[in-house]
Symmetry: C2
Subunit: 433 residues, 2 copies
């Protein structure tokens, strides 16, 4: 295929006419497609229906240590859930606190507690003039939502193929003691699907932050969410690496079973050093008498152990893989060689990240919407919803059935072409003036 940039104005105008005709055909189909969020499909949810059977009135709801899960108590989670989730998070059960149904809520709480009570004896952030977070971009909109809600200033840091721009991160955290955190989705990142390299993790663990209460917010949401059995990304375990680097308290690690069992009805957890956990428990004991132990027990009885969970994730992969491959094939077929977009090819997670020509993303998403396809809003992957290049679009292939997804991606590619051609025409005309 000839790159669009090499076409003449007349060729571009002719192309626009053809693409517009195709676009109108799509509009007549009255499509209602949604690729906006990283939601599992109904088929994936069916994989966990057996979890509804493991606890019933013929079973006891008693832990191995004799605790009756039906009653009050056990603030930090039942032992067998800590072992299972610890194995999932690659940490010892002693370093885990099991929470409720949402790791987002745990992150919110973590920031909220730092605002009102500070981190391990440091000044509460609400008493400081300025608090800042580093935000590798593109990133997860709900992370940026939490920091924005608390009035925390967000600083964009480019997310490269192997993680955040570490030169920039190292410099900023060493210089500025108002920088209190960095949001990280280290594995199969939201939205790029890329993972941090060993080198990146090592440099993060070795940071020398000016602020003693600086923490890495390590949202390992896709830790075991591989698409392939052998082509799996591997991440150095951050708690152990921070410990080895002499920074044992510098990281909070978050995870949940949301995309393993049922989103919204899973279990979430934080893992951290014993110093951090002690600090957290000072809040936790006032906050609740305990989280949902019955649901913790339900998860343990369903999976039995980490091997059971990993086998379960293979079944998710079998459903997700063809969807990711369909997206990649369509993008390659439709856009390959045209020079109007690039995209990632992840080995896991829930997203593919697409970068259009500068200044096109909003128009592309709007075009998709007018033909019945809802994508994640352009800009959502950046703090304050502002993509400085207006080029990043997050593709979430998981939710629609495969046939719908193929139609959706054809439409998406068409919108990319149409908007790109329109931009090139405007640019060419401007250059002629």
């Amino acid at each position: 295929m000839q790159p669009y940039a090499e076409l003449s104005l007349e060729e571009l105008q002719e192309l626009r006419t053809q693409l517009s005709a195709k676009y109108r055909e799509f509009q007549l189909k009255d499509l209602k497609l949604n690729m906006s969020r990283g939601k599992p499909s109904a088929e994936q949810l069916d994989l966990s229906m057996g979890m509804m059977d493991v606890l019933n009135s013929d079973e006891d709801l008693i832990c191995e240590d004799g605790t009756d899960c039906r009653n009050y108590g056990v603030l930090t989670g039942i032992r067998e859930a800590k072992i299972l989730i610890g194995d999932m998070m690659e940490v010892a059960p002693e370093n885990v606190i099991i929470y409720g149904n949402s790791s987002l809520n745990v992150m919110f709480d973590t920031v909220s507690r730092s605002m009102t009570h500070g981190v391990m004896g440091c000044t509460p952030w609400c008493k400081l003039d300025k608090v800042k977070f580093l935000c590798p971009v593109p990133g997860y909109d709900r992370h940026f939502g939490i920091t924005e809600y608390f009035g925390i200033e967000m600083i964009n840091v480019p997310l490269l193929g192997d993680g955040p721009d570490m030169d920039m991160v190292e410099k900023l955290v060493a210089e500025d003691d108002s920088i209190k955190g960095i949001w990280c989705v280290p594995k199969y990142s939201n939205p790029t699907g890329n993972s941090y390299s060993d080198q990146t993790v090592r440099r993060l663990a070795r940071l020398k932050p000016a602020a003693p209460d600086f923490r890495i917010y390590w949202d390992n949401a896709y830790g075991i969410h591989h698409l392939y059995d052998h082509d799996q990304d591997h991440l150095i375990e951050i708690l152990a690496e921070c410990k080895r680097a002499g920074n044992p308290d510098m990281v909070y690690k978050f995870s949940s079973t949301s995309k393993i069992t049922f989103p919204g009805s899973g279990i979430a957890a934080i893992a951290a050093s014993s110093n951090n956990l002690e600090d957290i428990e000072k809040q936790l004991k006032y906050q609740t008498i305990g989280h949902d132990k019955v649901n913790q027990l339900r998860h343990v009885r369903f999976f039995k152990d980490i091997h059971g969970m990993v086998e379960h994730m293979r079944r998710h992969a079998d459903i997700l893989r063809p969807k990711f491959e369909a997206v990649e094939e369509t993008l390659e077929e439709e856009l390959g060689g045209l020079g109007i977009g690039t995209w990632t090819k992840p080995n896991g997670g829930y997203f593919i990240s697409f970068d259009s020509m500068e200044g096109c993303a909003k128009h592309i998403v709007a075009r998709c919407k007018k033909a019945g396809l809802v994508m994640t809003g352009a800009g959502a992957t950046f703090p304050y919803g502002k993509d400085p290049h207006d080029s990043n679009i997050r593709i979430a292939p998981s939710y629609p059935p495969l046939d719908d997804l193929k139609i959706a991606m054809k439409l998406f590619a068409l919108c990319v072409k149409l908007v790109s051609v329109e931009k090139l025409i405007v640019d060419k005309k401007a250059a002629e003036v």
Copy 2:
């Protein structure tokens, strides 16, 4: 029985010898009894085991409006849960937000949000020099724990038989705009078991607080937790009464199914005016994608409707009633007419409140402990753990089996007698000097 105060020094000393001998007999029994918390008994928990069967892999997990409860979304709770919990809380479903498993956590969040973001546009409390709460005493220790955690100054207000001392409440909230809330357990109060009178609720709804962000924290934890079928306390519904009084936004109402199904695995909720709910949702949308809808659906399918829930509560009452009656009988038999203690006779809830002679509560609880009976710590029913008269002891009859409870109450009464006699001896000797 002759009141102890009328006994001579010699009679008291003789009595002490007898009581001490009995106490030593108890000590030899090696008892391990716990009446410290308002926990349902295993027999009560068994009542809800059927809830483990209503959702299974043969059932769909779909709401009446088509929502798949297994997936993300529905921030404020599924419609049918709002109807059920609305009926339980005596408010319209539109005024309800369903949360996770813990109403304590909802209260914590409510205070935390007020600290960081303020209430409906008012200054965040963390920016104020001083924030105060009124605390009717005796009250619930975990309420006082939350306000203490956030550095909120607590002001004791006497809890009379028909609710807080309203003359004092009216005066204080009208004068002092740093008073931002009052903790209330209006029905079958923790720990007295008494309920607020109609007059008290009307006066609360008509308060004229100096602070626009003053709120009544209405923890209706025992709204349908009656012991009897006819002798039931009735409470004027506070949201409607505040609306009628022209103070529609002045109250947050909290409740949960903790003592209806499984504590820690139930569902909690807040009810409030639409203005308050809008304010709360501004936080909620950053805090979580949604609470556990599967558990909401489980509760709805189990109870079907409020009548089902009320019938379920009759079965709880059948288990609890003999325990409350056993406590009252023992207290009457052992302590009636002695003039060394008074106690409440509630129609519902989880507690009986005992008041010893001044300066005796700590000693009584300590004596109980040394003979193998753990009571709620003396002072726990007051802010900062400080009972100015050292007289209030919370009795929680729900958890031990009936036979154990009878032994425990015999021991308790013995400890009351022994400590009272010792105090009277000291007093008499001091008077002689």
